[in-house]
């Protein structure tokens, strides 16, 4: 454990969150603290003024090298609810196109006194790279890097599960679909195992389950009906069409026939099982509309909780820097 602490760029010398790049190397206590902090923010939408002054006067930059509307918007709203000022850099259409290097872009935004970068990039490891080169006192949050990690999405999923189920320990959780291309699935598996669930299952066709899946501490199923049996939580993954270069699937219809979630199939799960999806959802491909809009679906709550969880991570990182200036 001590080795982790020294090697983990995400933590300061006292084990506090400095950057949020991956679930890897974060212990149960820290993940629980993120969830607890998010509880304070989850109540804000019920108030006439939906923000707190904690990060008033601070500058937070969304640095998106890959297009995303939903994730960028929720990070922007999270920053604004903490009273920070937000810069949005859509780098694909910005200076990089004119030949500026990544580090030059970084230095330029640092010169605008931005104290936090929210980074999304199509290459795995991009957020780590930026965290290693960022100026002291600047935090980096990974908003998705290649196939590697999407830790805030995983934590909002954990928050949603905890809100509905309370305790993680007795739970069986099934992650269904395109695990191979999913950075979300990797982060979810790490988070679920760190929080101590009974079992994590991944369900999908051979072509969409990575060969190393079993080393992540999951049980692999290729049959949806079998895999859903007695689970408490069903997490459907989006079919990553834009990330699929080979012919990994016969057709969307065939995929739905084998792995699409319907009410009938959901019968195999526990009666109080909840259904989640990180969005955007392909109706009629990953799941039937009657499930997506049905009583067990918590998909829209995931979106609301995402703002609270992102606020928690942002406030914790900025505070760590404030307490232990490099």
């Amino acid at each position: 454990m001590a080795r982790h602490e020294h090697n983990n760029i995400q933590l300061d010398a006292e084990g506090r969150l400095r950057h949020f790049l991956s679930i890897e190397g974060l212990d149960r206590e820290l993940l629980t603290r993120i969830l607890d902090t998010a509880e304070s923010f989850a109540a804000l939408p019920g108030r006439p003024v939906k923000k707190v002054p904690a990060l008033r006067g601070r500058v937070i930059t969304n640095l998106f090298f890959e297009t995303s509307t939903r994730t960028r918007t929720t990070f922007e709203l999270a920053a604004k609810r903490l009273s920070a000022d937000v810069l949005n850099f859509n780098v694909s259409t910005s200076a990089t196109a004119k030949g500026e290097t990544l580090l030059d872009t970084l230095r330029n935004i640092e010169a605008m006194h931005s104290e936090m970068f929210i980074v999304r990039h199509s290459q795995s490891g991009a957020a780590h790279f930026i965290a290693r080169h960022a100026a002291p006192g600047v935090s980096v949050i990974n908003a998705g890097d290649g196939r590697h990690a999407h830790p805030t999405q995983a934590m909002l999923d954990m928050f949603t599960i905890r809100r509905h189920k309370g305790d993680f320990t007795p739970l069986r959780v099934a992650i269904v679909g395109d695990v191979l291309h999913s950075r979300v699935a990797r982060s979810q598996i790490l988070a679920l195992n760190t929080l101590g669930v009974t079992e994590v299952r991944v369900i999908g066709p051979h072509t969409l389950i990575p060969t190393e899946a079993r080393t992540l501490g999951v049980h692999v199923y290729h049959d949806l009906d079998e895999g859903l049996r007695e689970v408490d939580v069903v997490i459907m993954l989006r079919l990553q069409k834009e990330r699929m270069d080979g012919a990994l699937l016969p057709s969307e219809e065939e995929y739905f026939r084998l792995y699409g979630l319907t009410n009938e199939r959901l019968e195999r799960a526990r009666p109080d099982a909840i259904v989640m999806h990180p969005g955007p959802m392909n109706r009629g491909v990953e799941m039937d509309s009657e499930v997506a809009d049905g009583p067990r679906s918590v998909i829209l709550q995931q979106v609301s909780y995402g703002i609270a969880v992102r606020m928690a991570v942002m406030s914790m990182c900025i505070q760590t820097h404030a307490e232990s200036p490099a």
Partner: protein, 177 residues
């Protein structure tokens, strides 16, 4: 930091609270407030507010505030590791609020609490109740009802422990933050 010494035990604190109820009723009568709503500040203020709430028989549920994200020194001192959600289950708009905290020193906590209350709505009035008033004010904020005024040196720190058995402890700090 040296070992804390007990300044006051549970029974004596309860006596103080009984006295505060008397003073608070007087203040409310003076202001012709018949229907006050109570809000306590986490953690010690909430314990005192709970005692007052029972004695005043307020119909509204007790409101609880965690002011961590409203502190003016948020990015300098750190969130309390046990940050809890604020919970006010009545409409603050137009209400007469009794705001309760354990110790008033600088006045910054009360400023933060008032800022947070206004984010729930615009109250008609706020009346401030503190178990302990001590020196060290940095803002022009004074309590309306006080349990006890305690003369302390700047390096002395007073803290309420609870919640079952309430105790006031005094410690000597090496440095003042």
């Amino acid at each position: 930091m040296k070992t804390p010494h007990i300044f006051m035990q549970h029974d004596a604190i309860i006596d103080l609270i009984d006295g505060m109820v008397h003073l608070l009723r007087h203040q409310l009568d003076d202001r012709e407030i018949t229907d006050p709503a109570l809000i306590g500040i986490h953690t010690g203020g909430a314990w005192i507010a709970r005692e007052l709430h029972g004695r005043l028989a307020c119909p509204d549920p007790l409101g609880l505030l965690d002011i961590s994200f409203y502190r003016d020194d948020f990015t300098r001192i750190g969130v309390n590791p046990q940050v809890r959600p604020s919970q006010i289950d009545f409409d603050v708009e137009g209400r007469d609020i009794v705001l309760v905290d354990d110790v008033i020193q600088s006045g910054r906590t009360i400023r933060a609490a008032m800022n947070e209350i206004f984010d729930f709505g615009r109250p008609a009035s706020i009346l401030l109740v503190n178990l302990i008033e001590r020196s060290g004010r940095q803002l022009p904020i004074q309590p309306d009802v006080v349990g006890l005024r305690v003369p302390l040196q700047p390096h002395e720190h007073i803290r309420l422990q609870g919640p079952e058995q309430l105790t006031l402890e005094v410690t000597h700090r090496d440095s003042v933050d």
